[in-house]
Amino acid sequence: MNALVAFPILLPFVLIIVLLIFRTVRIAGYIALAGTFLLLMLSFVLFWMVRQQGVVVLQMGGWEAPFGITLVVDYLSALMLVVAAVILLSLAVYAPRFLPGEISITRFFQLFFALAMGLNGAFITGDVFNLFVWFEVMLMSSFVLITMGRTKDQLEGGIKYLALNLVGSMFFLAGAGLLYAKTGTLNMAHLAIILRDDCQAITMNTTAILFFMAFGIKAALFPLYFWLPASYHTPNIVISSLFAGLLTKVGVYAFIRFFTLFFVQDPRFWHPLLLIIAGLTMVAGGMAAAAHYETRRILSYHIISQIGYMIMGLGIFTPLAIAGSVFFTLHNMIAKTNTFLVSGMINKARGTFELKEVGGLFRQSPLMAVLFIIPAFALAGVPPLSGFFAKFILIKAGIENGNFVITSVAVITSMLTLYSMIKIWNEAFMKVQPANEYASRSFRKPSFGEYFPSLFLGGISLLMGVFAVYLFDYTLEAANQLLNPDLYIETVWKGGTGK
């Protein structure tokens, strides 16, 4: 039964091979749909197993814990897997309808599943070097995806994206080398045993800072985010939405994993640093989003601003705050992808992403307006949608722990978020369409297949808000597992040889 842990990696791999054999465009769409649906079911099964057992472990190749590669699924991994699979499923419906003709759908889905494989691998691995490998799998497929249309902008954005992310990978690898030199292991549970009661905190900080840089570049934290707004608006909207929901969140996941499991020796240095960086990330991203008038650029800067909230919870470091971080990450993945999907629909209706050039969409398609307002209000934090509870938990944790500065920054940044969302709403939906070349385009109502993914994700945002208490219980459980990793360590160390 524990062998199922490896399947979120194996299934996308099999699908890549299947897509290499069956190249017909029509079949590729159905294979992708069936594959992502299977992936979602599999993630639910894993989540159910985690509810039964607490932590599910698979030792690859039957090698005992510190020697082989361990795959571990705990509450955090399981929740991330489920939400990632939801996004992949909605994009599998969305992609064939929004990809331009010059991008082959079969090739897109091959790389899509390569990305999914790297993503799932990063979520379930219990080994530092293995995490590096999955990061690289994800990076390589994203490099190809971002330059797929081969326009000048995409190549330029691709170079910028590649440059900073490569530097990040080097930091990661150097960090792994130093970590091995100091501890003699790269297994996360083993590292936790060695480092959690380590007295020489200062010597570990030099290693931890390398990981901080690597994940900071990945997650687009304040001084390191410049690759993101330079590249995320260049590729096709399908690829942008794929990246927006998933890529930076892997960096956040790695942050939460590393800085709760074994880099916990020197909280008096790390937690203020994380809080300062989180505050700056929120404000810088929010202000830049307020200054732009192109949908994808607004949303790209907005991704950065929201990463700040996730790191804020990690900096406060109480069970409630970590639960808030996890809740916020899950909510953000869904809502953020959804806003990108809707901006793709706006683009399809009008032929441009420039907000100054479009307008009057509310009268032409009230449905599209509703589809936009759900994720936009969810991101801004309007009850009863998911974002309200995510922010509420974080702010409550901040006040309870006495972190008043970061809490007020978070509240003010909420206003900035609301401002940029209202800007899109006013410009694209409420304003009268300006008389320009885009006005004469005949408007075609989006077909069911086109708006279904957005409806699906919007419904999940709503459900996450209405039934927030259940999700909160799971995230709190995840936070407790992260802060008291005895079960994690014990399961990896002793049992879990795959019964």
Binding site: E156, L173, A174, G177, L178
Partner: protein
């Protein structure tokens, strides 16, 4: 021997960062190659050097002398392969970009950052 290799790692990092800060894309890629080799050497050094001993030895009685640690060697092999793939992709990207724009100057890459 370790001290010499440590200095080599430092020199490679210096040269790599210097090349990365140049304006040409090709020099940037050379910088990436130097940095990735420096990092590989760093990982290789992480368990210390055990000269003249294999990673695994079949002879049962020879356990008194320390065997070389096989793990960093395995890690470095993986990292070299990944690094090679990335450098090849970067070169292909650079070639495509040069074909389209005819420029190798990083200062010309401002379009996606401006409004």
């Amino acid at each position: 021997m370790e001290i010499v290799l440590a200095i080599v790692v430092g020199a490679l990092y210096t040269a790599g960062v210097y090349m990365m800060l140049r304006r040409s894309i090709v020099k940037f890629i050379i910088g990436v190659i130097l940095l990735s080799n420096a990092t590989n050497l760093l990982v290789f050094l992480s368990s210390g050097l055990v000269p003249g001993r294999p990673a695994f030895s079949g002879a049962a009685g020879s356990s008194s002398a320390p065997a070389a640690d096989p793990l960093p060697q395995a890690l470095v092999l993986t990292a070299i392969v990944i690094g090679l793939g990335i450098v090849v992709f970067a070169l292909a990207l650079k070639y495509k970009f040069f074909e389209m724009t005819g420029t190798d100057d990083l200062d010309q890459l401002q379009k996606t950052d401006k409004r």
